[in-house]
């Protein structure tokens, strides 16, 4: 303690109270993006003449490539970037973009709009099938990612299907041309009337290209219902689903939904039961990252902490170094804290997260949880050290009171 400490304490406490009263951040936040579009004040002083021209250019630019918005289904409200979009089992989900482009998810299909900028739109098809109609704009690129494949398009109409379970992919172009890039494949153009199919067998991708119209039998059917619904939505004849006898690797019949479909439908217990009958441990060993997260969620929401832990630890081991592995670490900590009340166990996970991602998006929460875990676990000495670290890094963090309390301030 130095002799300035009493003054410093008062300054900090009084200022914090004043800042809370003034509540400045919410006043600044909405204007931030607007301010970014404008030039800084200092520059404006000496380039005042150029401002009207810059503003006019900005308006022209904005009109040429306005930022996009989209709505999902019958909702009139704009949907958010990153939202998980799921079409119902018996129907479709249409996404309407502000430039009149549309994306229709086939039955039981899942997708996300992961980027929505004036010059670039990115969609992620997690599974199922989509019919896409992109209104051409030379200043805007659309990308659709499905598994390891990326479909780049500037303006066209096409269908894409992806089954992570069977590792099957197809793109069928109805109008214009798309470019598909992917693993062991490079880049390939798919023009109107052409279909490109890919299937992974024995660890290698096999590709077939056809120029047959879609009303002929297809060699790949992601989901018979989605195929029909989506094709109808796109205004073409429905694809004939492949006879069940020729479907490879025992695709589940429509009567027995896969565990993924059950997770998507929110039926976590049923999803877990299905995953158990498919061999939970095996799924943990071979599932991709997204599926492992879904598995862990199914188990958590079904109340099976042990299974959730297995899925998450598999994820950590198999995808070490990936950001998602660190999220799994954090989730393991949260499960130990909230579920098992194993506070010292939770502290280990939160420490591990902070070691892996010291500046990660969950770092503040992990640091706060670490303080709380140690304190609740009875490790007061380490809780104090963690509290000091927390206050140094996040003086205004949500756990500042607890941290100060632990430090006796």
């Amino acid at each position: 303690m130095t002799r300035l400490d009493q003054i410093a304490k008062t300054v900090i406490a009084e200022q914090d109270e004043m800042l809370r009263e003034l509540n400045i951040a919410p006043q600044v936040r909405p204007g931030l993006l607007q301010a970014l579009r404008n030039r800084p004040k200092s520059a404006l002083r000496w380039v005042a003449v150029a401002v009207p021209a810059a503003a006019a250019l900005a308006v022209v630019w904005h009109l040429r490539s306005p930022a996009l918005t989209y709505t999902a289904g019958s909702s009139r409200n704009n949907a958010n970037v990153g939202s998980w979009l799921a079409a119902p089992a018996g129907g479709e989900l249409a996404l309407h973009f502000s430039d009149r482009s549309t994306v229709t998810l086939g039955a039981s299909s899942h997708a996300r709009v992961v980027d929505l900028r004036a010059r670039e739109v990115k969609l992620l098809l997690e599974n199922g099938r989509v019919s896409v109609t992109v209104i051409h704009n030379k200043n805007r690129n659309w990308h659709l990612r499905a598994g390891p494949f990326d479909v780049a398009v500037t303006g066209t109409r096409f269908d894409v299907g992806w089954s992570p379970e069977h590792e099957q992919f197809f793109v069928h172009t109805l109008e214009g041309k798309v470019e598909v890039t992917g693993e062991q494949f490079g880049a390939r153009g798919v023009s109107a009337g052409e279909t490109l199919r890919a299937e992974r067998l024995d660890g290698r991708w096999r590709f077939t290209e056809t120029d047959v119209p879609t009303n002929q039998p297809t060699a790949l059917s992601v989901s018979s219902s989605s195929s029909v619904a989506s094709a109808q939505a796109a205004g073409v004849e429905p694809s004939n689903p492949l006879p069940s006898s020729s479907v490879k690797r025992g695709a589940p019949s429509p009567a027995t939904p896969s565990w993924r479909e059950l997770v998507a439908a929110g039926q976590y217990r049923a999803a877990l039961e299905q995953a158990e009958s498919d061999g939970f441990e095996g799924l943990c060993q071979r599932s991709n990252l997204s599926d492992l997260l879904a598995l862990s969620e199914a188990a958590r929401f079904a109340g099976r902490v042990d299974r959730a832990r297995l899925a998450l630890t598999s994820l950590r081991e198999r995808f070490r170094g990936e950001a998602a592995a660190s999220v799994a670490t954090f989730t393991l900590g949260r499960m130990a804290f909230d579920g098992s009340r194993d506070y010292l166990g939770a502290a280990k996970w939160f420490r591990a997260y902070l070691a892996e991602q010291p500046g990660g998006s969950l770092a503040r929460e992990a640091a706060g949880r670490l303080v709380e875990s140690l304190e609740r676990g009875g490790d007061h000495a380490n809780a104090q050290a963690a509290a000091r670290d927390y206050l140094a890094r996040y003086p205004d963090g949500p756990q500042k009171r607890l941290a100060r309390q632990i430090l006796g301030q």
Binding site: M1, T2, R3, L4, D5, Q6, I7, A8, T10, V11, I12, A13, E14, Q15, D16, M18, L19, L22, I24, A25, V28, R29, G31, L32, L33, A35, L36, P40, N80, V81, G82, S83, W84, R112, V114, D115, R117, K122, L124, H143, R145, D150, T181, A323, A324, S326, V327, E356, Q357, P358, G359, G360, S361, L362, A392, R393, Y394, P395, D396, G397
Partner: protein, 222 residues
């Protein structure tokens, strides 16, 4: 090919908060700083909002400690983030975002101090005419003492005030102050010693600050 790699990175961007009905700021980048950085460079509104939400508290605290709670704070907070987002292309490692933002906050505060000094020198505004903190009228001893602290600091050279406030009120380590002020550690130590001596002399003329200093002395001797 590069754009495809970037696209792949962006595909890692997954919104977790959304499913729970939380706000934009909870957009989680799954700890993927590179994806976050890419999104910031692309002026992605959600990423911008996330950056603001995550760091506005720290930035505001730095500005307030150096300048006092001032009517300019709102503009300065915005200025820090505008500067940051305009310069985000220079950041190579997403893990240093907080440190980098703090440096910008310190520079912005320093620029503000220099602006104020120029205004005083030009006698456009006398020091006493400078806007009082935009705080509600609270007549507590502590609030009066706070106002007096910043009146004392208003008479300091900008460089000394910066070092003193960052070290004493923002609790930054000397090395952090040196790094944020882009000065050597030795310079920072010299400035801090001068500033502390100057502050103590001035504070002794104020009854409350003087008492607190004496209490601090007693604590220091224990």
């Amino acid at each position: 090919m590069e754009s495809r790699t970037k696209a792949a990175n962006h595909l890692k961007v997954v919104r977790t908060g959304q499913q729970r009905g939380t706000g934009l700021s909870e957009l989680a980048y799954w700890g993927d700083e590179q994806a976050f950085l890419d999104a910031l460079r692309a002026r992605d509104p959600a990423a911008t909002a996330a950056l603001f939400d995550a760091h506005q508290g720290m930035v505001l605290a730095v500005l307030a400690r150096v300048l006092g709670v001032d009517s300019e704070l709102r503009d300065l907070l915005q200025e820090v983030f505008v500067r940051a987002l305009r310069g985000v292309h220079t950041v190579r490692d997403g893990r240093v975002l907080q440190q980098w933002l703090r440096q910008i906050a310190v520079c912005t505060a320093m620029d503000c101090l220099r602006r104020r000094r120029r205004r005083r020198w030009l006698k456009l505004v006398a020091p006493d005419d400078l806007e009082e903190p935009a705080a509600p009228a609270v007549n507590s001893e502590a609030r009066e003492a706070l106002r007096h602290v910043y009146r004392i600091l208003d008479a300091f050279p900008a460089e000394e005030r910066l070092v003193f406030t960052l070290r004493t009120f923002a609790s930054m380590e000397l090395t952090e102050v040196a790094s944020a002020s882009k000065c050597s550690l030795a310079t920072i130590k010299r400035r801090l010693a001068r500033a502390e001596a100057r502050f103590e002399i001035a504070a002794r003329s104020h009854p409350v600050l003087s008492r607190w200093l004496e209490e601090g002395d007693r604590w220091g001797q224990q």
